[in-house]
């Protein structure tokens, strides 16, 4: 071995962890009313980080009441006043970005390179973008003087904890709503740090309320009669339950659910960049990405060579300590997620697909899964249809553009897709015919606050980001 990288761990000193965290209701950290507690851990070490409250029905009710109370004053502020609060939040996030990044990596298991270079900068950018919308709502596409909906209940996943928080809170607040947000069970810590940031920004009490907990807490929130809007990012399974639960009410809903994106590589693609794009498409954030390019569709004539290049590239992926600045692939977020990935990977082998994993050394503690590729996959295999939400790529081949499109669309999901070809007209035609909400051509897994994101079909409805992301938090002006 030559020039082996020495460990380069990011220091955790910047993070001031408490032993116990309370709920954030009405601008204060408060005790629970009968809620149980649970321990949140670092998935890379299985060490306990802190004790967290599982908010009770009473807690959720208090949070909604506090949001309702704050709604009057918050929606009564001028847009420019609300905007200035959001700008403040954006700036404090930038100021405390390293702390947020380290805490995110500790609680989520994602590499510090990603939390530092992607997650947290995008969080600040989201607040910055929507801050500027607050006094321009007349231009949101809903006529003059659109009004906010009221209290939004927001439930976010564990894969991009703070980024998903920003996707939810920034547009809601800009539009004049107040929110009760429930972070994911396994990743509550950055949301609780964000609560502190709200205090530093002197955000009026009750505008943002954060209740921690698991599915039960989320259910209380969804079912609360005084909620006007539900925004959920997570599994299609839970999304379906939410859609059922709000039936017959006046609650508006935005759902951003699962995916099984096709990443289509044509024979004339820029090969080295396509390989990189495929790697980034599925191994970014350990594949814990709803829009991950989990199905590689390779034109048959290049498949062998492409796979050789892919394996060569994958051998350089560095799996390990998420806080090491040179880590590419971090920890799987929880043992239950690891179980799910393993189970699906086993089904792949059982159903006759061939498995190849990058030769990574797996740490003794924590939850890990080596970057893996399945070849000889057919459309009927579970690994070609079900969302694995892990670093597992299923490879299929195609002969013609029509066949590629047909295979790409042949799935109940429709969140995202990738196209790799150097031919412009082909890009536009394939992009046009793919039934998916986000199409990345000659790139993958790119996000921006100005760019609408969301799915077709069972990947949910509503869009987040840009002007489109504002609409679900407003009703048309009278």
């Amino acid at each position: 071995m030559v020039f082996e990288y020495a460990p380069a761990p990011e220091s955790t000193k910047i993070v001031d962890l408490k032993n116990n965290y309370q709920l954030f209701i009405g601008g204060k950290f408060v005790k629970s009313n009968g809620g149980k507690t649970y321990k949140t851990i670092n998935p890379a070490t299985e060490e306990v980080l802190a004790e967290i409250i599982e908010a009770s029905q009473k807690d959720v009710d208090l949070a909604v009441k506090s949001a309702r109370k704050a709604f009057k004053t918050w929606s009564g502020l001028t847009g420019s006043q609300r905007g200035k609060y959001l700008f403040r939040l954006a700036r404090i996030i930038q100021e405390r970005s390293r702390e947020l990044a380290v805490l995110e990596s500790m609680n989520n298991g994602k590499p510090i390179r990603e939390s530092r270079d992607i997650d947290i900068p995008l969080v600040a950018a989201h607040f910055f973008h929507y801050a500027g919308w607050a006094d321009k709502l007349d231009h949101a596409g809903l006529g003059k003087n659109p009004s906010p909906l009221g209290v939004a209940g927001q439930i976010i996943p564990w894969n991009f904890p703070l980024l998903m928080l920003s996707w939810k809170i920034a547009p809601a607040l800009a539009a004049g709503n107040t929110v009760v947000l429930k972070p994911a069970e396994t990743t509550p810590l950055t949301a609780l740090l964000f609560a502190e940031i709200c205090q530093q920004a002197e955000l009026p009490d009750g505008v943002v309320n954060i209740v921690t907990g698991a599915g039960e807490t989320g259910k209380y929130l969804v079912e609360h009669p005084d909620i006007d809007k539900i925004a959920f990012t997570g599994s299609t399974e839970v999304g379906r339950l939410i859609a059922q639960s709000v039936a017959g009410t006046n609650k508006k809903v935005t759902l951003e659910l699962g995916g099984k994106a096709a990443n289509i590589v044509f024979d004339d693609a820029a090969m080295d960049q396509a390989v990189e794009g495929v790697v980034n498409g599925i191994f970014f954030n350990q594949g814990h990405v709803c829009c991950a390019g989990s199905r590689l569709l390779l034109q048959e004539s290049i498949s062998d060579n492409f796979l050789d290049l892919l394996y060569q590239r994958m051998k350089t992926l560095r799996l390990g300590d998420p806080l090491d600045k040179n880590t590419d692939v971090g920890a799987i977020n929880s043992s239950s997620q690891l179980q799910k990935i393993r189970e699906l990977a086993e089904s792949g082998t059982k159903e006759g697909a061939q498995m190849w994993s990058a030769p990574c050394e797996i740490p003794n503690k924590g939850f890990w899964f080596a970057p893996t590729v399945f070849t000889n996959v057919s459309l009927s295999h579970r690994i070609a249809r079900e969302e694995i939400f892990g670093p597992v790529l299923s490879v299929l081949t195609f002969r013609t553009p029509d066949e590629a499109i047909e295979k790409a669309n042949n799935i109940p999901y429709g969140l995202s897709a990738g196209i790799w070809t150097e031919k412009g007209s082909r890009i536009l035609e394939v992009a046009h015919r793919l039934r998916a909400g986000v199409i990345w051509a000659n790139t993958f897994n790119k996000f921006d606050p100005t760019s609408p994101f969301g799915g077709y079909k069972e990947s949910g409805y509503g869009r987040e980001g840009g002007r489109h992301g504002l609409e679900p938090y407003l009703k048309a002006g009278k």
């Binding site: 950018a125 596409g141 809903l142 299609t236 999304g239 379906r240 339950l241 859609a243 059922q244 039936a247 017959g248 006046n250 759902l255 659910l257 109940p412 890009i427 992009a431 998916a436 909400g437 986000v438 199409i439 990345w440 051509a441 000659n442 790139t443 790119k446 921006d448 100005t450 760019s451 609408p452 994101f453 969301g454 077709y456 079909k457 069972e458 949910g460 409805y461 869009r463 840009g466 002007r467 489109h468 048309a476």
Partner: protein, 281 residues
């Protein structure tokens, strides 16, 4: 002695054809004074199923048609409607004796279709965007049709509601299955005849007459239907259960009693597609 009228058989409109219900059933329709008007086809779940197949079959071509072309087709519908002005008035008058109200409804319905026709090639400008992302990428968002849309059309002003329902769905490239007013179905049958002669490709619009209570649940649970407009469902319990059924494949839903403007209605059946591409040489 006056000549004997040739009466029209009121049939369903599926895949561009006018079949009887596959169940062979009809129901009697009466006017406001309880006089018999016609035997109207009573659609079954299999008719609904066939309609979905027809609508899905028509989707790719209709959604691929140019916006200009769709606009012309919708405008053609309004032309054909205008030609049948008196017929619509006569049919609506069976249930509404206020002549001026009836005439107004027909003209508003025609004008509404003209308005929809004009929207086809404006929608992408108004609801799409070019997104100034922070990087060397060209990034744009365009509206696209959701797919196959089912609808229960409103009972009041049956022609106008039907036009609003159908127009708002198909102008962007969706195809539809509409369940018309059960008690006042004649204008629906006539509108089907208008559509059949307006260059609307077969299967883009499918119109069923009968009990929505019977048919709608099959459409709500149908996994190849992408959205459901429940506007005309008056029974709250049924509306609740239909909306729950719609969650099966996450259909986009317009709830009954939702007061929405027509542009919001149009947007309810749109998806937004965002496309990224790097720029550089």
């Amino acid at each position: 002695m006056t000549n004997l009228d040739v009466k029209r058989t009121a049939k369903l409109f599926i895949g561009g054809a006018f079949p009887r219900s596959e169940s062979g059933r009809t129901y009697e329709v009466f006017d406001k004074n309880k006089n018999f008007v016609a035997n109207v086809a009573l659609a079954s779940r299999k008719d609904a199923r066939d309609s979905v197949v027809a609508a899905r079959g028509a989707f790719s071509k209709w959604s691929e048609a140019t916006a200009y072309n769709r606009g012309q087709v919708l405008y053609r519908i309004s032309e054909m409607m205008q030609g049948r002005f008196d017929q619509f008035v006569e049919e609506l008058s069976l249930w509404n004796k206020n002549k001026s109200q009836v005439k107004n409804e027909v003209q508003v319905a025609i004008d509404k279709m003209v308005w929809f026709a004009g929207w086809t090639d404006k929608l992408a400008m108004v609801t799409g965007s070019n997104n100034p992302v922070a990087g060397p990428f060209f990034d744009f968002s365009v509206p696209e049709p959701t797919g196959v849309v089912a609808a229960v059309s409103g009972k009041e002003q049956p022609l106008l509601n039907l036009v609003k329902t159908i127009g708002s769905i198909i102008l962007s490239g969706n195809t539809c299955i509409v369940i018309a007013s059960k008690t006042q179905p004649l204008t629906a049958v006539s509108l089907a005849e208008v559509i059949a002669t307006s260059d609307v490709p077969a299967g883009v619009v499918n119109i069923l007459t009968g009990d929505y209570e019977e048919i709608a649940p099959w459409l709500a649970t149908h996994m190849d239907v992408n959205a459901f407009d429940l506007t005309g469902v008056n029974d709250r319990k049924l509306a609740l259960s239909l909306e729950k059924d719609c969650a099966s494949n996450l259909k986009r839903v317009i709830r009954p009693n939702t007061k929405i403007d027509d542009l919001t209605r149009i947007k309810s059946f749109l998806e937004t597609k965002t496309v990224w591409h790097p720029r550089g040489f």
